[in-house]
Amino acid sequence: MPYVVDTIEVEAHLVAPYLDAVEQLGVPLMTDAGAFFVSCATTSADIGEIVDVQIVWAFDDHAQWNVIRKNMVLGPRWYEYSDRVAALRNGGTRRVYYRVGFSPP
């Protein structure tokens, strides 16, 4: 099962609204589109560093991701979510990961 892993840089005072957007907009629309919500975690906001928010989505295979992508693009909520989180982040990365054989499920 592949994973889309977004690692987002967010200023500490914007972490709460960022997480609100993920929880209230991102999770519903992505799960409706067919993705599996795996986790959302942050680095500490109390150590004087910019906060990393890591969001992980899973999907069965690339054929399914193709359908998820289509569903996202055709839904207006995805654009609202994308605009909302773009205004709250400094930057970040997106990578797709693949589980290795000895990893627990």
Partner: protein
């Protein structure tokens, strides 16, 4: 065969290395996805609100569908293009032509070098089939009318609303109903065409107003050097 264009407007605050990454991803797609053919990247030199054009083609809808589900697409292209990606390099373009394309019988569009100009046409959806056929026949033979044109191909924008599988219409009809691909050996030839005496160029200068029974309601264009460098 399926001819396809992705036309990108770059995010205004994108760093040069981010733009390089997008350009590289487009240029390398064919190395990883064998279904991507005739792949070339150009930088728009016109005033149209877009900067990058990635032109390519597929032999069939099945080949296109393999491209759409290829890991390179999800891993690399999506990283720079999808709205929700933190590494998105582009913004929506006002041209209404982010993804356009048409079906054709073979690589009639092939142009290894020079200048490609894309004229986006909005043909009157109420126009008679005969009028539309007359228009497309004429544009397909444009090179016989204007000496500067070394390529003139037109196709209905069948991909604009069938981008998922190149078959199924899943979105509203696109703003641009047709694409007219023009080829020139260089910028001088393009300029000469645009200012020249051909009936095609004259119709363009007049915004196609009333031309060919007034079948063209609106047009926009952009052009780029094939595999040219960033300005």
């Amino acid at each position: 065969m399926i001819r396809r264009f992705e036309i990108y407007r770059i995010r205004p605050d994108a760093e040069p290395d981010e733009v390089d990454a997008l350009e590289t991803a487009c240029r390398r797609a064919g190395q990883f996805i064998p279904e991507v053919m005739y792949s070339r990247v150009g930088w728009n030199r016109s005033d149209a609100p877009a900067q990058v054009v990635w032109e390519h083609a597929f032999t069939s809808p099945e080949a296109y569908q393999r491209y759409m589900a290829h890991p390179f697409h999800a891993n690399v292209l999506d990283r720079y293009l999808l709205n929700d990606s933190p590494q998105r390099v582009v913004v929506d373009n006002d041209l209404g032509a982010g993804l356009v394309g048409y079906h054709c019988t073979g690589p009639v569009f092939e142009l290894a070098s020079g200048i490609r100009r894309i004229v986006l046409l909005r043909v009157d959806r109420r126009a008679s089939p005969a009028d539309v056929r007359g228009l497309t026949d004429r544009l397909d033979h444009g090179a016989a009318e204007a000496d500067e044109l070394i390529l003139s191909v037109v196709g209905a924008n069948t991909l604009g609303s069938a981008w998922f599988d190149a078959v199924t219409q899943i979105a509203d009809p696109p703003r641009w109903t047709h694409l007219w691909e023009q080829g020139f050996s260089g910028i001088d030839e393009l300029d000469a065409y645009l200012a020249g005496p051909s009936a095609l160029a004259a119709a363009e200068r007049q915004g196609f107003d009333g031309w060919m029974n007034g079948v063209i309601r609106r047009a926009a264009s952009l052009y780029y050097e094939i595999d040219g460098t960033r300005p």
